[in-house]
Structures are given as structure tokens and as C-alpha cells.
Symmetry: C2
Subunit: 257 residues, 2 copies
């Protein structure tokens, strides 16, 4: 029975997609069966696997509309994980499902039949608090909140945590906050150190700040362009360790042998 | 009669808020009357002006619901521009307005009575293609699309341009694409140079790539924390010139004496 993780934050550009692709790759490399789900109309996760979103006949949009058929849209990736891809059609879902019954449980209907085939299901969320992110948080067992080590990203955390608490109080009482993943930590700047300290002071341990720091490195953007994970593109890059260590932590904690 | 500009992209973290605050400050410093509008439930623009979003009784949310009252929520900023602030309440609007008539024209109803008091109105959009961004694009005369000089941001441009074309074909036929503003250009990396070249090849001149490059500099994050614009916090920072030059361009083009 897969453990489902939402990688989410309404703050944009904090490393949600980068975390999803690299965590999926690290977990796959450690022998786990992984399904990655692109739940962002930008199709960033789909792009990171080298697939052109606009070339796809069917995507997660079709499965959400029919509330089934995850297998019929599934693609294999070179990282070893399976992928449910997305493209800009997904932006229509918010409008089309507005009056549907249990509209926040559409993704659950698509993913639940697949859970027995995987150890983890990772969902890359769009930077918003809309219906798509709500769907992810409703089906998820846990949420990882990437936070860039910069002031504006840090200020946005409190708002997102409020949203998580609302979901825990209504649609999904068992949703666990796995923690905040500090990302884009630029070792060269005082600003990153200070923001990291503020994150620790403001949130830890009520909201755990995970002890893995993803350092800023241009290799991440280059790896996305090469449709590779950081683990193969630049395994010695600062920041690659964080995803390996996070994957080990996830396996120890959620895959009891 | 103010020229209204939406600063928009569904890609997150590309510098929308940073562009809005620094362009507003540069235009104000050049003697223009500016209204800045925070249309993102994150309240990033509001935070950049030193105001705590959660401390506000009234925000743009209230004005959108009542379709009037921009003046009653307006705040002065130290940059010289006026501000219509936002906080997380704004996230409710998408759900509450779903069945309202002409729901994409709510912001127009709030801004139109104010247009005669300003030279420019700048709207900071959230990273999504939802109702809020549609409201901004419906009332705007022009749109500026910040694009970080990194692969994933570049790949997201085509999807956003499709959205703009849809708006031009329906809700706002006079919406002009002012251009793509290249941001976060890291001079030290080959990746930025290559992405910039690809931007030029893929879009210019159908979608003009503006001749102002905002270079990557930690001073932008520090300025946000200090609630200052880059023009006063670090006027010699690489990247500050781009906002000064962009402001001059806007005045020459849209403020005929
Ligand atoms: N640790 C890092 N160091 C440097 N660059 C990074 C790092 N992690 C991600 N990036 C780059 O930063 C940009 C933003 O990352 P990413 O797209 O993963 O964020 P996101 O939160 O998914 O964005 P969105 O909100 O648009 O979905 C991308 O160009 C990515 O390649
Ligand atoms: N030229 C730049 N160089 C370095 N950092 C920058 C630059 N411009 C903005 N930043 C920083 O990058 C982060 C993202 O910028 P910003 O918040 O303005 O983007 P955004 O597009 O408004 O994000 P969102 O999609 O969440 O609304 C912020 O921490 C900001 O301080
Ligand atoms: Mg993403
Ligand atoms: Mg912003």
C-alpha cells in the first residue's frame, strides 16, 4: 500500500517540481516502486522527464474527469518511476468540476486503485490553493513543503500551514505534515543563513524543518534541461545529498520491512 | 487616464512581485503617480511594502466582493506609490464568485473609478491561470511577462502566451503584450546565456523580449526583507538598472506629454 506524498506550497518557484523529480529518482535508485503525479497545468514534472506536454493525447486531466483510468495515461520514465503526466488542459478542471459532488476526491478515485503497485506516490502541486492542490491534500498521507531560503518564501509559509490545518480539519484528518524542506540555500550569502535560522525559530518543531538542506546550484536547472535527475546529471552537486538523504529517511520511516 | 499593466505568469517564482514593487518605485521616483495592486493571496507585494498582510481589516478581497471601495482599502507606501493590499482571504474569491455574472470584470469595477488619479496602475498576479489572473488581464491595457532565465521558466512561456491569446480573443481584445522581461539572469552561468538565446529565438519579436535584463542578485531578497525597493536598498546592484530603464521606456511610450 503506497504512502502518498503531496509536494506543495502556494509560493511559486521554491523547488516543488525539482523536489518531486529528484526524490522520485532517489527512491527508485534505492529499489522502491514510485509513481510520480504531475498535478500542475504547467506540466513542469512532465517536462523534467523529457516528455513534451503538448504532444500528449491523454493526461491526468482525462483521468480526473472520468475518475478512473490512471493506467491508460501512465508513462514510464528513465528515472525508474512511472508518471501520470499533465499539460495545460488541466487548467480547465477547476472550472469544469466546480459543481461536481465530492470534487476534492477526484484524484483519490484515480490513485486509490493504483496504490498497491507502489511504495510511494509523489504528487507535484501547482503554486496555488485551488481545487487541484486540495485534491492532492485530500488523497495524501503526508505533505512536504519546500521553502526557498529567501525572505518572501519564508513569509508565505504561515499562510500555507493555515491551509493545511483547514484540510486536516475537514477533508483529510489523517494528513501528516512531514516537514519543511529548505531549498535554494545559497551558501555564499548571509541572507540564506538568516532565513534558515528564522525558519527554525518560527516553525520547528511544531512544523518540523527537515534536517536536509538543498543548496543552490545551477546544476538543477541544467539537469531539468537534460531531462535527468541531479543524481545522474551531477551527483556531486551541492544539494544532491539532500535528496538522497531525504529518500533514505522516507524509506526508513514509511517502508517498514 | 492611467495605463493599466498586469505583471503576470503562471510560472512561479520568476520575479512578478519583485518587478511590480521595483517598477512602481522607479516610476514614482520619476515623478509619476502610481497605484500598485496586490492580486495574490500570498500578499507578497503587501509584504514588500513592509505591511503585515494578516494585520489588515480590509483588503482587495472586500473591494472585489462589493465591486467598489478601492479608496477605502488604499494604503500609502514609502516608495511613493499607493497600494491596494491583499492577504490570504483573497483565496476565497475564486469559490465565492464562481456563479457571479461578469465575474472576470470585478477588478475593472474597482479600478476604473480610480484610473483618472494615476499615470500607471500595476497589478501583481498570482502564479495561476485562475479567476484572479483573468480579472487582471481583463482590466489591463498591457501585460509584462517576467521569465526567469532558466529552462523550466522558459518552457512555461508558450502555455502562458496561449492563455493571453485566449483573453485577447474574448474578455479583452485590446490587451497588448508589452513583452517578456528576462529576470534572474545569472551572469556566471552558461545556462542563463543559453536560455536567454532560446527565449529570443523562440519568441522575439512576435512576443517582444524587452531589452532590459534583470541580473540575479541576492540584494533583491534582502531588499524585500528591508521593505525597500532595489533603487534605495542597493542602487548599484546588477539588475537595478533594468527597472530604471524599463520605467523610462514605459513613460516615453505611455505618457505622452
Ligand atoms: N536547489 C536549487 N538550486 C538552484 N536552482 C534550483 C534549485 N532547485 C530548483 N531550482 C531551479 O529553480 C527554478 C524553480 O524550481 P521549480 O520549478 O522546481 O520550483 P516550483 O516550486 O516547482 O515552481 P512552480 O511554483 O512554478 O511550480 C527552476 O528553474 C529549477 O531548475
Ligand atoms: N533578479 C533577481 N535576482 C535574485 N533574486 C531575485 C531576483 N528577483 C527576485 N528575486 C527573488 O526571487 C524570489 C522570487 O521572486 P518573486 O517572489 O518576486 O517571484 P514571483 O514570480 O512573484 O513569485 P510567485 O510566483 O510566488 O508570486 C524572491 O525571493 C525574490 O526576492
Ligand atoms: Mg513546479
Ligand atoms: Mg509574487
Amino acid at each position: 500500500m503506497a504512502y502518498v506524498i503531496a509536494i506543495a506550497s502556494h509560493k511559486g518557484g521554491v523547488g516543488k517540481t525539482t523536489t518531486t523529480v529528484n526524490l522520485a529518482a532517489a527512491l527508485s535508485a534505492m529499489g522502491r516502486k514510485i509513481l510520480a503525479v504531475d498535478l500542475d497545468p504547467q506540466g513542469g514534472l512532465t517536462v523534467c522527464t523529457g516528455i513534451h506536454p503538448d504532444s500528449l493525447e491523454k493526461t491526468i486531466y482525462d483521468a480526473l474527469k472520468r475518475q478512473k483510468g490512471g493506467e491508460s495515461i501512465m508513462l514510464a520514465t528513465k528515472f525508474g518511476a512511472d508518471l501520470l503526466p499533465a499539460n495545460v488542459d488541466l487548467a480547465l478542471i477547476e472550472i469544469e468540476l466546480v459543481n461536481a459532488i465530492a470534487r476534492e476526491r477526484r484524484l483519490a478515485a484515480v490513485l486509490n486503485p493504483l496504490r498497491d503497485n507502489y511504495d510511494f506516490i509523489l504528487i507535484d502541486c501547482s503554486p496555488s490553493l485551488g481545487l487541484l492542490t486540495l485534491n492532492a491534500m485530500t488523497v495524501a498521507d503526508g505533505v512536504i513543503i519546500p521553502v526557498a531560503c529567501e525572505y518572501l518564501a519564508m513569509r508565505a509559509v504561515r499562510g500555507f500551514v493555515k491551509f493545511v490545518r483547514k484540510v486536516q480539519g475537514s477533508a483529510n484528518s489523517k494528513l501528516e505534515v512531514i516537514g519543511i524542506l529548505p531549498t535554494m540555500f545559497d551558501k555564499r550569502t548571509r541572507h540564506a543563513q538568516e532565513t534558515y535560522k528564522e525558519l527554525m525559530n518560527a516553525f520547528h518543531p511544531q512544523i518540523p524543518v527537515l534536517p536536509y538542506i538543498v543548496y543552490r546550484s545551477i546544476r538543477f536547472a541544467e539537469a531539468a534541461e537534460a531531462a535527468e535527475s541531479i543524481l545522474t546529471y551531477a551527483k556531486a552537486a551541492p544539494g544532491a545529498d539532500a535528496y538522497r538523504d531525504l529518500a533514505k529517511f522516507m524509506i526508513e520511516r514509511y517502508c517498514p520491512e
